[in-house]
Every structure is written in structure tokens, then in C-alpha cells.
Subunit: 354 residues, 2 copies
């Protein structure tokens, strides 16, 4: 495989020295970019775009053409695994994801299986291979998956939810069923991420979007426990280099110590925690990724620079920080503001690495 | 005024001994109750219901007829203040609140004024007076308001929001304007709550529903600061008795120490914090209210009892705990489950008060 031209992202995740703080943005290939919207229109449905390796590669690379980003992230959806399990994923315009066969009963849970990453999910691996080839060593490629708990919420609810009525109903009344569901899902995620790594992903991130909706006890039992199982099963070296694992629980600021104890390499932080305090809490155990409020990208370049500067100062000197937003970039952000953000990170972070 | 027959709620907020832990539920007068839905239909629009003192009183008392609750809470909306400022509140079916005149420009902010609680907002005070009369000392009546920041999000966005684009846009780019808006709103909330107290409210709660969407720095500058101003301005004694003030920031678990330092009497907790840990953090400074995940009410009575028991054990012995849900009761909960919850709190808490 081609030598990496820019490995700041991987070095920062391993707390090795860098000349400036690397940066990427969650959902950097997305609707805020006119070129993305053009490709998306060409592709047909959102899943058509995910399933076409060339087009998935095209949108993955678009933000890298515009901005000096330090990592690419596979363009895909977090719900590919349940779709491959036969739940029938579709996206209705403005409605978010829907499953035609949600998981509600014991029989539904029994039908779940670990999809073959080079079978039902081969389209994802093809995208990874295509992107790696086209990246040609420019920056590392991040693979990803939803966390078991986050996937479970969609699988049981049959789509997005505000109140988690069905998924928490199952969790509280039939914890045995929920654990069975999560076990199969965790195995699926581990196999899926290992296949992404085999196909060329150089780091992986687990998105636990809904872990923050749980009590501390339920978070440990129904979310963190299964992320731990995944971390334990992951291939941690590939192409002679460490493959870092990043855990991101949105709203999980209270549980950073527990997350760090899983043996992952880095924690993603949302903007509700102070990154300096987070660093003090986890010590040298893990690197930190984050954590600018994505809404700041609505503000002026000056205000964006000020916020970048304040986060850099809070993290302080030394490696171990990957700059990012605390959640995905919003669709109505002006792409020039994203550019100002990335430039500010690179420029203002140099003194912290001297 | 009539002597209070059940003052456990006020005693617990003051950390005075009680025989069992008092309990009420946020949104206890609400859509999960068939009798509420019947009155709501009779009333016309949601605001018609809020503006009719007799009907507002009727729905306030409905949950007390069903359950042995230890407090009543004024039935009203958090958006009465901006409506009284001329923003034109309406509720479209299934759409949530809308303002026809949102606050977007400097001119819009300049037009804001402190509404007269016995003028534009007299319908709220009439409801308070009617409810107090009809309660006849059964349990204390809680008055409430949205926090300035929470009101500001609706005022600037013109309704609910997922990404806070406009309100954070103003906050980041025109902090001067945002502060002016918040200052007028804080004065309005203080005057509104003091009028509720004068009309008969025996405790007040400030709902900071959206404070948890802010960074720690922004929370202090744009939300907590204005709640502090309100706490400083509130009437703290009425009818010869202390009027406790409860602050509730949803998603504010990281900032309990700062909230307690405002001089309020109690903190409302959502379910993402462990109440025992919260108690250890705030010490004797404030009482705590909360914090069961409202979704547990979808589960069986046995599971509900188990959760109540675990929260009681976590809080531990002694007064200073008002049991509640960590957020409003959901509309699709079976009313019998709410009954099981309330019964469990009363029954299982006795040993902690011996």
C-alpha cells in the first residue's frame, strides 16, 4: 500500500508528536456542500449513493478537494448492518430512516444474524477499497459503525425516536431479549469493522449517538458493555501500523473514565464538556477528539477563530488532540465557514506543538 | 390562607424531616390522562385552555384526584411571557409552538418589554388564584417559568429547533443583542414569578430545557447568569413561609455545583446523573428533585418499583429529596403505571426517613 503523505491524524491518536493539530469534521461529506448535493441527485436515493462504490468515493473525497483536512471518513450510513440483517431500510424525504421490519418480539430477535461483511455488506467494503485507492495515501481513511445500543434504538423503534418508548420498553421489561439483540449486533459490528480494516480503513470510530439518553447504570449495561466487546474483538494492527479505535458517545461527558477504561485509543467529545477538564480526567489513557459546537459555524470567521483558540488553549500543549466538531456539521452551514474553521485549527495550533 | 394539610414537598425542599419522600411529576396534568384530553377538547386550543382559569384549574387538579401526589403545579405554558411581549404564540397540531413575530434583529430586540403580570399575563395569575382556592390546602402549588435562555431559543427560532441555528447565530455573532434580549427576559421572568408567588404559588421552578445544548462557558454566560439574576430578585417568603426555588437544567448534570451556588433551594436532575453522586457533589447546599427516566413508566410495575428503590437507595437516608421524573411524563404512558410509580415512592421511601 502507498505510504501515507499526511499521518498527523494517526500520530495524534497515538499521542505522537505532530507539527499542528489534525482536524476532520463528522459528516464532512454532506449536504452543506453543493458538490455533494449534485452527486446525491445523480445517485438517486441516499442508499443508492451508499451502495455505489464510485459515487461513495466521489463524495468522500469532495471535502478533501475543498479543505486541507487531515482525514477522510468512509461515506456510508450507520444503519447498513440492520439493513443487511433484513430489516428493510429506506429513507423518506425529510423523515429520516425507516425500517419496514422493526424488531419487536422474541421471534424478531431470534431471526437476527451476523451479516457477512463480504456478502450482504460487500458494497461497503468495495467503497472502502475504492476510496483507499483514490486517496492514494493523501490522508488516512476512517471506517465507522453505529454502536450496538444506537443501532438497537433504530431497530426496535423502526426509525428515529424522541422518547425511546419501544426500545426502552424492551430494555426495561425484557432485558434478556435486549441483551440478545445487542449481542448479535455487537458481533456484527466487530466483524463489520474488522472487514473495513482489512479492506483499508486505517482507524475506526464507533458512533454511540443515543447512549446519552440512558441512566448511568443503563449506559454501562446496555451501551458501554457492548462497545467493550467490540473493542476487545477488533484488529488493532494493519499494514504494519496501529489501527486506532475512537469511541464517541454523544452526551456521554459524565462517563469518560469508563469509556477510556475499555482500552480504546481515543474518545470523541461533544461540546458540553470542557476538553481541558476531560484531559485532566482521562490523563494519558486516551487521546481526545473534538469538540467545537457545530453551531459556531453559523457565526463569523472571527468568532470561529476565537472558539478554536479557546479549545486549543483548554486542551493545552502536546499531542493527543484531534480537532473536530462535537457532532456532525449542519446542513445549512456556509462551506466557507468550514474552511475558516479548518484553517484556524492548523494555524492556531502550531504553538502548542513546539 | 388555609393551613397546608400536606407540606412534605416544602419540608423536603427545606431539608426538614418528613415521614416519606414526597413526589410529583413534571407535566402531571397532561395528555396521558383521558380526563385531560376531554377537558382539552372542551377548551378549544391549547392556549384557550391556559387562558381559562377554571379549566386550567380543572386540569391542574385532575392528577391529584387520581394519585396521592404531594404537590400541584400550575397548568400553563412556558411561552406565556414571549407571547405577552407580542410575539404571537400559536400551536399547530403536532407541530409544537410557533411565534408569528420571532426576534431576529436589533429592532426586534428593542421592541421587547417586561409584561405586566397583572396585565397581559393576568390570566396566569387568575389561574394561580383559582387553583389555590380549589386546592384548599391539600398540597402546595408550584408556580413556574421557562429560563431566559430557553425562552430565547423559542423567541429567536420562532418555534422548536433541532440545531439552534438562529439563536446560537445571534449568541455567537451578536452577543450584545443576545444579552439585551436575555436581560429583558430575565426581568420579565422575575416579575412573573413574583406575581405568581403573590397570587399564591408556594414554590417556583425555573425550567431550563435547552441549557444543556450549550458549552460550559456559554451555559454560564447565557443561561446560568440570568437564572442567577432571577434567583436574586425573587420573593423568598410568602404567607409566613419560605418559598423554595428549584432550578432545572435538562442535560446540566456537569454544572450542578455552579447551579447550587446561585442560592436556589433545590436542583432538578434528569436521569443521566446518579442522584447519590449528585448529593455528594452539592452537599447540604441544596435539596434535589428527580430523577427517574420517564421511559421506565412504559415498563411493568415491578420494574418501576425496582427503579424507584434504586434511586431511593442512591439518595440514601434523610430529607432533601423530592421524587420526580427526570423530564415530563410521556403522553403514551398508561396512567396506571404512573399510579404504581407514586405508590412505590411513598411505600419504599419510609425506611429512609426513620
Amino acid at each position: 500500500m502507498t505510504e501515507l503523505k499526511n499521518d498527523r491524524f494517526l500520530r495524534a491518536l497515538n499521542k505522537e508528536p505532530v507539527d499542528y493539530t489534525p482536524v476532520w469534521m463528522m459528516r464532512q461529506a454532506g449536504r452543506y456542500l453543493p458538490e455533494y448535493r449534485a452527486t446525491r441527485e445523480k445517485a438517486g436515493s441516499f442508499m443508492d449513493l451508499c451502495m455505489n462504490a464510485d459515487l461513495a468515493c466521489e463524495v468522500t473525497l469532495q471535502p478533501l478537494e475543498r479543505y486541507p483536512l487531515d482525514a477522510a471518513i468512509l461515506f456510508s450510513d450507520i444503519l447498513t448492518i440492520p439493513d443487511a440483517m433484513g430489516l428493510g431500510l429506506s429513507f423518506e424525504a425529510g423523515e429520516g430512516p425507516k425500517f419496514s421490519n422493526p424488531v419487536r418480539t422474541e421471534a424478531d430477535v431470534k431471526k437476527l444474524f451476523v451479516p457477512d461483511p463480504e456478502g450482504e455488506l460487500q458494497y461497503v467494503m468495495n467503497a472502502v477499497r475504492t476510496i483507499r485507492r483514490e486517496l492514494n495515501g493523501r490522508v488516512p481513511l476512517i471506517g465507522f459503525s453505529g454502536s450496538p445500543w444506537t443501532l438497537a434504538t433504530y431497530m426496535v423503534e423502526g426509525g428515529g425516536t424522541k422518547d425511546y418508548a419501544k426500545v426502552k420498553g424492551m430494555m426495561f421489561d425484557r432485558p434478556d431479549l435486549m441483551h440478545k439483540l445487542l449481542e448479535t449486533t455487537a458481533k456484527s459490528v466487530a466483524s463489520y469493522l474488522n472487514a473495513q480494516i482489512a479492506a483499508g480503513a486505517q482507524a475506526v470510530q464507533i458512533f454511540d449517538t443515543w447512549g446519552g439518553a440512558l441512566t448511568p447504570r443503563d449506559y454501562k449495561e446496555f451501551s458501554l458493555r457492548y462497545m467493550q466487546q467490540i473493542v476487545d474483538q477488533l484488529t488493532r494492527t494493519s499494514e504494519g501500523r496501529k489501527v486506532p479505535v475512537i469511541l464517541f458517545t454523544k452526551g456521554g461527558g459524565a462517563w469518560l473514565e469508563d469509556m477510556a477504561a475499555t482500552g480504546c485509543d481515543a474518545l470523541g467529545l461533544d461540546w458540553t464538556v470542557d476538553i481541558g477538564q476531560a484531559r485532566a480526567r482521562v490523563g494519558d489513557k486516551v487521546a481526545l477528539q473534538g469538540n467545537m459546537d457545530p453551531s459556531i459555524l453559523y457565526a463569523s470567521s472571527e468568532r470561529i477563530r476565537e472558539e478554536v483558540s479557546s479549545i486549543l488553549a483548554s486542551y493545552g500543549k502536546g499531542s493527543g488532540h484531534v480537532f473536530n466538531l462535537g457532532h456532525g456539521i449542519h446542513q445549512f452551514v456556509n462551506p466557507e465557514h468550514a474552511g475558516a474553521f479548518i484553517e484556524a485549527v492548523h494555524e492556531l495550533s502550531r504553538p502548542y506543538h513546539q
